[in-house]
């Protein structure tokens, strides 16, 4: 491969890796994040036992789930600090997974023949 081609490849790599130099959290910060996740889990379980409207209950539980999901993804899996190409792969997988659900849902509601 020519030197020019090599230079181009390295430049593209550096472009993709532009955001990998952020400072990661300290051990103490990781423990605080763990405690935060534990508190949110406790709140979820507490909400399960409260007698509130089903829709409201579901919305709040889903919101808490998203917060926990994002916290683990961003801080423990380093998606906030690491290369954005990883984020693309993961988000693509998640979006496709939601599409899987929607497609299966149509099978029940539109193609079941009832």
């Amino acid at each position: 491969m020519s030197t020019e081609a090599h230079t181009e490849v390295v430049t593209r790599g550096e472009d993709l890796a532009h955001d990998v130099h952020h400072e990661h959290p300290s051990d103490l910060q990781y423990i605080y994040i763990g405690l935060f996740l534990a508190v949110v889990t406790a709140a979820e379980v507490g909400l399960y036992y409260t007698e509130i409207d089903f829709l409201l209950n579901t919305i709040i539980l889903c919101a808490m789930m998203v917060v926990k999901f994002a916290t683990v993804g961003m801080f423990f899996m380093h998606l906030r600090f690491d290369n954005r190409v990883f984020r693309w792969f993961f988000v693509t997988g998640l979006v496709l997974a939601i599409f899987v659900y929607l497609i299966v849902l149509t099978t029940f509601h539109f193609w079941s023949g009832h």
């Binding site: 090599h6 890796a17 290369n83 998640l94 899987v100």
Partner: protein, 202 residues
Amino acid sequence: MSTVTPHAEPAPGEHGWTQTGVTNEKLAMWVFLGSDCLLFGGLISTYMLYKTTATRPPLPASLYDIPFTSASSFVLLMSSVTMVLAVSAMKRDEPSRTRTWLVATALLGAIFISGQVYEFTTFVRKGMGYTSNTASSAFYTLTGFHGVHVSMGIVMLLSLFVMSLRGRLGHEKAETVEIIGLYWHFVDIVWILIFTVVYLIK
């Protein structure tokens, strides 16, 4: 006269060369995790669609022991903390501390799996087998697949521990621990979804 070769990035065609600016191993793990989202997406979707359509009792939801499953969830969540501490210790080149956190993570994972075995056993004793109804099949398949993922993670963690004991997990292998850590956190993230969608939403 000896010549000192400065450390250089691998050239195209050499082992370790990458076009993306990230290592191929880490990229491969993220691609795998993205594809695993689809597997669990399909399984969670199936459970959600079947959970109320079963004609023969008992339905899984009627047998859930929420306090017990909450404790299991807490254990798995804490295993993510110990895992990230293992990765952090590895990056600081502290092998002894890395081993401690790796074993702690594997132990917490084993406690979670024991809880799942206990839960499955209890459900079967109460009359909900794998083929009792569509909801039970979907439930066992989903949580069983997750359990297999956790078990695979425990095997990988213990392998890292043994490698470290034998001195084969030097500082240059820090990314290997990070990649196994990514897998472990993914397993935790999937459980966060399962716990809410399957157990808590009525």
